[in-house]
Assembly symmetry: C2
Homo-oligomer: 246 residues x 2
């Protein structure tokens, strides 16, 4: 029972250039004039396809470009010497990857495609150059980075103060919201990552994630079938988040 409702409407018309891209408002090109867009187009020429499980970049790779996800789904993770690792984010269409590398000239995390995916390669020095010419582009880029900082704040909040079920509820609502703003169904979607990856992202063990899923199903908040999730009672999940005991 594949979730038909999750087929994106707008993505059908995707073309090569930013000027034609349906991800417009999520990405860097919002508010640009026609001629500005065409300048951006020439910058973003390169495209890169990745197979599932392929790395877009690895920690330590020299930093040269940032990437806009065109289609597909990614995770970023950090690996400690002692083997522990943590998923630091999941990225979907329209989201930008690789900004961690600017500060040190090298990437500090790994980015891996969780399904066959395609990204726009945005050479960073060229982006800086163009955004010295185009005020709106400059500001858009700053906004993207800032939003990433705010996202991180939210994740810290989650990791620092929430209990297991709250974390998972927050995660599901966040996924739902992001699918929505891409024209997919808010209520039904397919998770691309394993329980272990969810757990790593949420600071939990995979068993705990699994138990929380089961619990939510018992409560009637969601229907789970492997990686297919149907949200039956979003408010139920939201309540879990807000007036939590401690």
């Amino acid at each position: 029972m594949p979730n038909k409702s999750a087929v994106p409407i707008s993505l059908v018309t995707i073309k090569a250039a930013c000027s034609q891209c349906s991800l417009h408002e999520l990405c860097l090109s919002e508010g640009l004039s026609k001629e500005e867009l065409s300048k951006l187009d020439s910058l973003v020429g390169a495209r890169r396809k990745l197979k599932r499980q392929q790395n877009l970049y690895r920690a330590g790779d020299p930093f040269e470009a940032i990437y806009a996800v065109r289609t597909g789904f990614f995770k970023t993770d950090v690996l400690l010497e002692d083997g522990r690792d943590q998923v630091t984010g999941f990225q979907m269409a329209g989201e930008i990857l690789g900004m961690d590398g600017i500060g040190t000239e090298a990437h500090t995390c790994n980015a891996v495609a969780l399904e066959d995916s395609e990204v726009c390669v945005i050479p960073f020095s060229q982006l800086e150059q163009l955004s010295r010419e185009i005020k709106t582009l400059q500001h858009n880029f700053h906004k993207v980075m800032s939003r990433e900082l705010v996202r991180d704040q939210g994740l810290m909040m989650l990791l620092g103060t929430m209990r297991a079920e709250e974390r998972l509820a927050a995660f599901l609502l966040n996924m739902s919201q992001r699918f929505t703003s891409r024209g997919y169904s808010a209520a039904e979607f397919h998770l691309r990552m394993t329980r272990e990856e969810i757990g790593s992202y949420l600071g939990l063990k995979l068993e705990t994630v699994s138990r929380a899923f089961s619990r939510f199903q018992e409560e009637g908040f969601i229907a789970v079938q492997q990686k297919h999730i149907r949200i039956l009672d979003g408010d139920g999940l939201r309540k879990l988040l807000n007036h939590q005991p401690r």
Copy 2:
């Protein structure tokens, strides 16, 4: 027994302008030519003093400027509707505050002085304008934001995978390293925040923080006297971090 060694050498010579500022390399002005610096000077004219416990800005405040800490010590925190809050960072001289506001035109967290402090006010639209003229400034700003992203990654790692004593060890080593790069003693410093604030930052309860401090003292890693910390065995702390059991 105040820690004399923690008196900064370089800060004595602080003047008003970026061009004279000893925090140079930590801040936005690195690598700028004389004339570029003087342009930056005119932008950063405004200064703001804050008393201990005073807010630099609050969540929801309209975003207009970012701030460079000149002297003193800050915390940033996020407050949830249900009353839970989390400290998301501690900022000291040379560090930049307020970039969370760019994306939404409003600040998303609170910034509070933990001791009497002074900041340079950097009106953001002017900074954007000047960094369209000065490539190096533009790049410096991008680096600062990127480093903030990487810092957040580290904190997620800490919150997601480390146990209490590891977290505190990481925290102490980080503080020590930051004091060092400002010309203070690496081995002896004064914490400006309470156990509760440390706990909030590390995702622990204040009692757990206190116990970990006591434990480190028993082990001979540090000497604790209230907020005065002396690091006796930094390698001991580092070992705690690396070859940890799980």
